[in-house]
C-alpha cells in the first residue's frame, strides 16, 4: 500500500530519482514561478508581450511599492483577517461541539443529522448564490464582514463536523467511560479529556479552513461590493487599471496575499503531532 522506499528501488530508479525529482518539482511549481517572475517584471515587458520570457529588468521594488501605494491592499488584507480568523474560530469551535455530540451520544435522529452534515458538503455552493445574497440583503448584512463570516461559518461547519466527528470516534471510547465512572460531568469530559486530545485535529482543520476561506473569491465578490469589507482576493482585482490589465501588480499583490496562509501553516505545524493518544491503552 505504501510506496517502496527509494533506497530499495532498482538501481536505475535510484539514479533517475535525484534527476527527475527537481524537474517534477519545477513543473509543479511553474504557475507559482510564473507569478513570482511576473511580479518583478517591468511594465514595458507586458506591454511588449514578453509574458513568459526572461524579464528585461528587475522591477520588484517598484511593483511591490506600487501595490501598496496604488491600492488599499492593507485594508483588504485586514478585511481578509477580519473574515478569516472569526470564521476559523467559529467553524472549528462549533464543529468540536457538534462532532463530540455526534461521536459520543446516541440519540434519535443522530445518524440522519450526521448524514445531513455530510450531504451539505456535496451541494455546489454556486447554486446558493442568489438565495444567500437575498438573505444577507434582507438581514442587512450585505456588504459587511459579519455577513461573510456568518455565511462562511455556516458553510464550513458541515465539513468540519464530519472531520471532527470522525476524529473523536477514533479516540478510545473507554477514556470517556472511565471519566464518566469517575463522576466527571459531560461538559468537563469534553473540556478536559476530549478537547486536549483533539489538538492535532484542531490544528489541521484550522489551517485547512484558514486557507480555504482566505482564498475564497466567489463569496467575496457575491456578498461584498464596497472597499470597506472587501477581502484581499477580490480586492486585488482593483489593481488592474480601468483600461489596461496591470498583471505585474496583480502578481505582486497575489504573492503578498498568499503569505498569511503559509505563515499559518508553519505556526500550526508543531501541533500536528501523531500519536497523542499513545499510552492510553494496552501494555
Amino acid at each position: 500500500m505504501f510506496p517502496t522506499p527509494i533506497q530499495k528501488a532498482p538501481p536505475w530508479v535510484r539514479m533517475a530519482y535525484p534527476l527527475l525529482l527537481p524537474i517534477a518539482l519545477i513543473v509543479w511549481l511553474l504557475p507559482l514561478i510564473g507569478v513570482a517572475v511576473t511580479s518583478v517584471r517591468p511594465v514595458a515587458d507586458l506591454a511588449a508581450g514578453n509574458y513568459f520570457g526572461l524579464p528585461s529588468g528587475f522591477a520588484g521594488v517598484e511593483n511591490y511599492t506600487a501595490v501598496f501605494r496604488d491600492s488599499p491592499i492593507g485594508l483588504y488584507i485586514l478585511n481578509s483577517f477580519k473574515v478569516t480568523v472569526p470564521t476559523v474560530i467559529g467553524a472549528v469551535a462549533l464543529s468540536c461541539l457538534s462532532g463530540f455530540a455526534l461521536a459520543v451520544y446516541r440519540f434519535r435522529g443522530g445518524t440522519v443529522l450526521f448524514f445531513l452534515f455530510v450531504a451539505g458538503n456535496f451541494i455546489p455552493f454556486q447554486i446558493l448564490m442568489v438565495p444567500v445574497r437575498d438573505l444577507t440583503l434582507s438581514m442587512g448584512l450585505y456588504d459587511t464582514v459579519t455577513g461573510l463570516v456568518l455565511f462562511h461559518v455556516a458553510f464550513q461547519t458541515g465539513f468540519c463536523t464530519l472531520f471532527m466527528r470522525n476524529f473523536i470516534v477514533g479516540l478510545p471510547f473507554a477514556l470517556i467511560e472511565a471519566a464518566r465512572v469517575e463522576g466527571v460531568s459531560e461538559w468537563r469530559i469534553f473540556r478536559f479529556v476530549v478537547l486536549p486530545l483533539m489538538r492535532p485535529a484542531i490544528a489541521a482543520l484550522s489551517v485547512l479552513i484558514f486557507t480555504f476561506v482566505w482564498n475564497d473569491y466567489f463569496w467575496a465578490t457575491v456578498l461584498v461590493q464596497g472597499q470597506q469589507a472587501m477581502p484581499v482576493t477580490a480586492g486585488l482585482y482593483s489593481l488592474n487599471g480601468q483600461w489596461v490589465a496591470a498583471w505585474h501588480l496583480v502578481s505582486a499583490g497575489s504573492l503578498v496575499a498568499a503569505l498569511p496562509p503559509v505563515a499559518m501553516f508553519f505556526l500550526m505545524q508543531r501541533h500536528f503531532i501523531a500519536g497523542l493518544t499513545l499510552g492510553a491503552t494496552k501494555g
Binding site: 478510545p172 473507554a174 477514556l175 467511560e177 472511565a178 471519566a179 464518566r180 465512572v181 469517575e182 463522576g183 466527571v184 460531568s185 468537563r188 478536559f192 479529556v193 486536549p196 486530545l197 497523542l276 493518544t277 499513545l278 499510552g279 492510553a280 491503552t281 494496552k282 501494555g283
Partner: protein, 367 residues
C-alpha cells in the same frame, strides 16, 4: 455497606439477548469473580453494574439504593478497564487525581490521597511521567490507583491482568488480593481465566451465554458443580466426562457401567431411583484417576500422549469405546504413548449428570 443486588437483569443489543435474566446478590466486602468463556457477557454484566450500559429489564441496587436508572457518575463505583483507559495527555499524578479534582475536592485532599495510593502501589517515582512512558504493569497500577483514591465502596475490574505477562499476572494477583484485604470494599472481578477465578474469589459466578450457571465458593464449584458446563469449566485440566449407563441398586447405591463394560458402584443415598437412566454421563477429574490402577474400579486404555510438567504428568488415554480420559499422575510416571494403562477410579469422587447435563450426584470428597 455496599451489597450489590441484581434482580432479573436483562440486556438486549440490537435484538440479540446478551444477558438473559441474571439474579445475583454480592455480599458487602466480597471479592466476587465473574468467569466464563469469551463472549458470554461478563463485561456486559459488569458494565450494567457500572451504568455504562442501560439495563433493559430487571433491577439493580447497590448498598440498598436502587441504581437501575442512575447515571454511572452517581453510582459510587470505580472501574478498572481492560485497556486501562489512562488519560494520555496527563501525568500519572493528574491521572490519579483527575476524578477527585473534577468533582470539586480540595487540592490538599487530592494530594494526600494520591500520595497514599502511589505509596501503596509503588508508583512514587513515576508520578510525573505520562502513560506512554510506562510499562504495562505500571499502567495497570495507575489504573488501579485512579480507582483507589476515590475510596469507592465498589470496585469493578474488567480483565485487568489479561494484558500482562504470566509472571506479572501472578504478582498483580496477590497485590490485588492484598488491596482487597486493606480496603474491605466490595470487588467484582471479571476474567475468562478459571485459575484466576479459583485463586482470587471468595464467590465465583460462572456465566455462559448470558446466564448464570452457578454461584458459589471456589471449592464448592470444584467439588459440587451443578451441571456439565461448570464441571467442564472449573478445574484444570478439565474434568473427564464419560458416557455411562446407570441402574439403581439396593440401599442407596447405583451401579454405573463404564466404557468397556466395567461396573462401578457409587453411593447415592439421596438420589431418587427414577433418576437413573441410560445415556448418562460420569464426570471424574484427572486428579481422581490413578495411573497405578488402584481404585474402586479399573479401566483399561491405551496411552495416546503424555505431557510431563515436572511436578506431575498428564496422561491422555484412549478407552475401548473411543472415549478419551486424562489422568494426572506424579511427575515420575513412566507411561509412554502406545502403552496399555490400567486406570483406577475413585468412586467417591465421581459426579453423575443426567441427559440434560444437570448433576444428580456430586462426588464431594470433603464430606
Amino acid at each position: 455497606m455496599a451489597e450489590i443486588c441484581l434482580r432479573g437483569v436483562r440486556k438486549v443489543f440490537g435484538g440479540v439477548s446478551v444477558i438473559k435474566g441474571v439474579d445475583l446478590t454480592i455480599a458487602d466486602g466480597a471479592f466476587c469473580v465473574f468467569v466464563g468463556p469469551s463472549g458470554c457477557g461478563k463485561s456486559t454484566l459488569l458494565r450494567l453494574i457500572a451504568g455504562l450500559e442501560d439495563i433493559n429489564d430487571g433491577s439493580l441496587s447497590i448498598g440498598g439504593a436502587d441504581m437501575t436508572r442512575v447515571d454511572p457518575s452517581d453510582r459510587g463505583v470505580a472501574m478498572v478497564f481492560q485497556s486501562y483507559a489512562l488519560y494520555p495527555h496527563m501525568t500519572v499524578r493528574d491521572n490519579i487525581g483527575f476524578g477527585l479534582k473534577m468533582t470539586g475536592h480540595p487540592a490538599s485532599l487530592i494530594e494526600e490521597r494520591t500520595r497514599n495510593a502511589a505509596r501503596m502501589l509503588r508508583l512514587d517515582p513515576l508520578l510525573d511521567r505520562k502513560p506512554a512512558q510506562l510499562s504495562g504493569g505500571q499502567r495497570q497500577r495507575v489504573a488501579i490507583g485512579r480507582a483507589i483514591v476515590r475510596e469507592p465502596e465498589v470496585f469493578l475490574f474488567d480483565e485487568p491482568l489479561s494484558n500482562l505477562d504470566a509472571a506479572l499476572r501472578v504478582q498483580m494477583r496477590t497485590e490485588l488480593l492484598a488491596l482487597h484485604q486493606d480496603l474491605k470494599a466490595t470487588m467484582i472481578y471479571v476474567t475468562h481465566d478459571q485459575v484466576e477465578a479459583m485463586t482470587m474469589a471468595d464467590t465465583i459466578v460462572v456465566l455462559s451465554a448470558g446466564c448464570v450457571e452457578q454461584i458459589g465458593a471456589p471449592l464448592d464449584l470444584y467439588h459440587r458443580p451443578r451441571n456439565l458446563f461448570v464441571a467442564g469449566f472449573i478445574g484444570s485440566p478439565t474434568m473427564n466426562i464419560l458416557p455411562v449407563t446407570a441402574a439403581s441398586a439396593d440401599d442407596g447405591r447405583v451401579v454405573v457401567t463404564l466404557p468397556g463394560g466395567v461396573a462401578l458402584t457409587l453411593r447415592a443415598p439421596d438420589v431418587p431411583r427414577a433418576s437413573f437412566d441410560t445415556g448418562m454421563r460420569l464426570g471424574i477429574r484427572p486428579e481422581h484417576l490413578s495411573a497405578t490402577g488402584m481404585g474402586d474400579a479399573t479401566l483399561t486404555g491405551r496411552v495416546r500422549l503424555t505431557e510431563h510438567l515436572g511436578s506431575e504428568t498428564l496422561i491422555v488415554v484412549t478407552l475401548p469405546d473411543g472415549a478419551e480420559a486424562t489422568v494426572k499422575a506424579d511427575g515420575l510416571a513412566q507411561a509412554r504413548p502406545g502403552d496399555t494403562l490400567a486406570i483406577g477410579v475413585n468412586a467417591a469422587a465421581c459426579h453423575l449428570f443426567d441427559r440434560d447435563g444437570l448433576a444428580i450426584l456430586n462426588g464431594d470428597l470433603r464430606s
